[in-house]
Amino acid sequence: MNIVVVGLSHKTASVEIREKVAFAPNRMEKPLKELAGLPDINEGLIVSTCNRVEIYASTHDIAGGMARVKRFLADFHNISLDVLEPHLYSHHGEAAIRHLFRVASSLDSMVVGEPQILGQIKTAYGYAAEYKTSGIILNRFLHKAFSVAKRVRTETKIASSAVSVSFAAVELAKKIFGDLTDKTVMLIGAGEMCELAAKHFLNNGVRGVMVTNRTYERAERLAEEFDGRAVRFEDLFDHLHKADIILSSTGATHFIIGAKDVEAVIHRRRQKPMFFIDIAVPRDIDPKVNDVENVYLYDMDDLQGVVSSNLQLRAEEAKKAEGIIDQEIGRFFNWLSLLEVTPTIVALRTRFEEVRQAELAKTVAGWKDLPPDGQKRLEALTSAITNKLLHPPTNLLKRTGQGGRTDLYVDALRQLFELETVAPQEENLDDLEE
């Protein structure tokens, strides 16, 4: 039995292609049942997010299974396979296992370490479980992927630091203020970046928002949007002391807030810390403000610096994560191989035993002057022969279980000795791992 994956992602396909092959989240029954109903496909699972569409399946026939899945993906969405093919990647065996482990651990994401993907895979698995298109192999595979992702998350710092400017600002604020729930944000000027950052602060529990703008109407409009209050631009310094976090992005060509202003404000606040975030280019706030005690000023470059060093950190942590995945692949692959090996060994031994018993019975029946202990000795002789003969192949199969050409041997044995295929049973699989 083999695991295959066929799919495309932000790395191989543009959004135009991705949206064409996306599966609607609430209508998964039809595609899943169709997929699992394909010949050669035993189990199926569909992961569909805005960045990737992937189909996992278990099959006995790697090449045939992959071709069928590709065809299914194209036909289901009424696209020509010729158009789709260049964007598709497909893996089987160890590579397929590695692929899912990396995707679930967010190593293959657009922003490495982003946490959503794991939830999306869990949802996808939920559908497969609901419509019973996943069986023992995919069940075990997905659970393993979840535990690998969890291990990566707890043992590396892959997701621990902000990788967008506005998140970086929120994290910095948390290091200054601890809890943000009783803090007030002031927006000076408007701009997409500024509003996005304000939204992040609100999501993190900031209590109040003040908005000021050279055009008072715009300030009012924005204040309404954030459920805050508008302040006239001329009155900025009468209100500044009420703000803990200041987001500034005006189109001013000179500094609108200087160190002297901030000194007065901080005195009025009885030294309660202030965090200025200057997103404007050219800058709105004199860099000397950062020298005022209990005041922290970060401009766009500083925040970019934080983000890029965090990205670097994530890249380093991703290496550790790959190491963890390597270990886990070994374990899972082992399990998967033994899944095939054990029934084959059992079948092989049964076959030998049947032949031995049959031949023994024949011989004993036709032997008139068999000495009293003759049957016992024949028993011993024949079972010694079969055991000796079976010992090397059994050992070889068990050893190749640790990543090797198990399939080859299993197939050869089945054909050479005309073994019946025995479906593995779930209950006696657990003790096979490790």
Binding site: L172, K175, D179, Q271, E293
Partner: protein, 280 residues
């Protein structure tokens, strides 16, 4: 038996300090957790040691450098555990436990023989005055640790160097809060210690205040922390300024405790030396 308790405490503090220092460099949460439980176990053994010592000696074991350094260390660990539990910052241990370990190590270098008490020390005030004094010292020691952490973290934030240690250290507000809480516990304790000391001095030496070096330096320490508390409550001295003052206060306090004993002019409080000459 009691020596065994003492050295096991020393050993545990040593290992816990080591783990806390490793925790500073490695991000594993398990390190902080295990160091925390280890230091708590060490604290219990240390308590047992101190109680047994009290029973064996027949007086509060804060009479010579061996005893008082050990008691100081015990108090630091006790106060630290309380704050660590309250604020859930294991990393505080990386800054405070080394101090507790060094204090106990210093204690181990002094003779552990039970001293004969000079008459002046034979009093119930010994327990009250000395233990309160060391408890206040201990809270200032924790404040000192938090203050150093504050200065490091503040430096990172100002200079925009946001490395792994920055990630590990708690927010400035928490560190400032620990500093403030320590002050609000430590300052009243120190005040009562000084007052009880004066009362005891009156009964023992016949005068409330004799400008003995220890008394003078205690008063200086008291003024520093009083100024800090006043500044905090009125003009909002916080953050860096409070942290610096807290560090200065702790250094002066250490001098009050140790330095005065080493001053050339004999202090009435230099029992260790007196005992060393007369009774050892």
């Amino acid at each position: 038996m009691n020596a065994l308790l003492f050295y096991s405490t020393l050993g545990i503090y040593c290992i816990a300090t080591f783990i806390y220092l490793v925790y500073l460099l490695k991000p594993r949460e398990i390190l902080g957790r295990s160091a925390h439980w280890l230091i708590a176990a060490g604290f219990l053994i240390h308590c047992t040691f101190t109680v047994i010592r009290y029973i064996e000696a027949g007086h509060t074991p804060i009479t010579n450098l061996h005893e008082s350094l050990s008691f100081f260390s015990l108090a630091v660990v006790g106060v630290f555990i309380a704050f660590e539990r309250k604020y859930h910052v294991f990393i505080l241990g990386s800054f405070v436990t080394p101090l507790a370990f060094l204090l106990l190590l210093a204690s181990s270098l002094h003779s552990s023989a039970i001293p004969l008490l000079p008459p002046a020390l034979k009093s119930k005030w010994l327990l009250v005055h000395s233990s309160l004094a060391f408890l206040s010292y201990a809270t200032f020691a924790v404040a000192f640790g938090a203050a150093i952490m504050y200065l490091i973290q503040e430096h990172f934030l100002k200079k925009k160097r946001l490395g792994p240690l920055y990630q590990k250290l708690p927010s400035l507000v928490i560190l400032d809060e620990i500093n403030y809480r320590c002050l609000t516990f430590g300052f009243p304790l120190l005040t009562i210690a000084i007052i009880t000391g004066a009362i005891w001095a009156e009964t023992a030496w016949g005068t409330y205040w004799s400008w003995d070096p220890k008394e003078t330096w205690s008063l200086i320490t008291w003024f520093i922390y009083a100024a800090l508390l006043h500044g905090r409550l009125t003009t909002g001295w916080r953050g860096k300024r409070a942290a610096m003052l807290s560090i200065i206060g702790f250094c002066v306090m250490l001098f009050t405790f140790l330095g005065v004993n080493l001053l050339p002019s004999a202090s009435l409080h230099s029992y260790d030396r007196l005992l060393g000459e007369k009774y050892r």
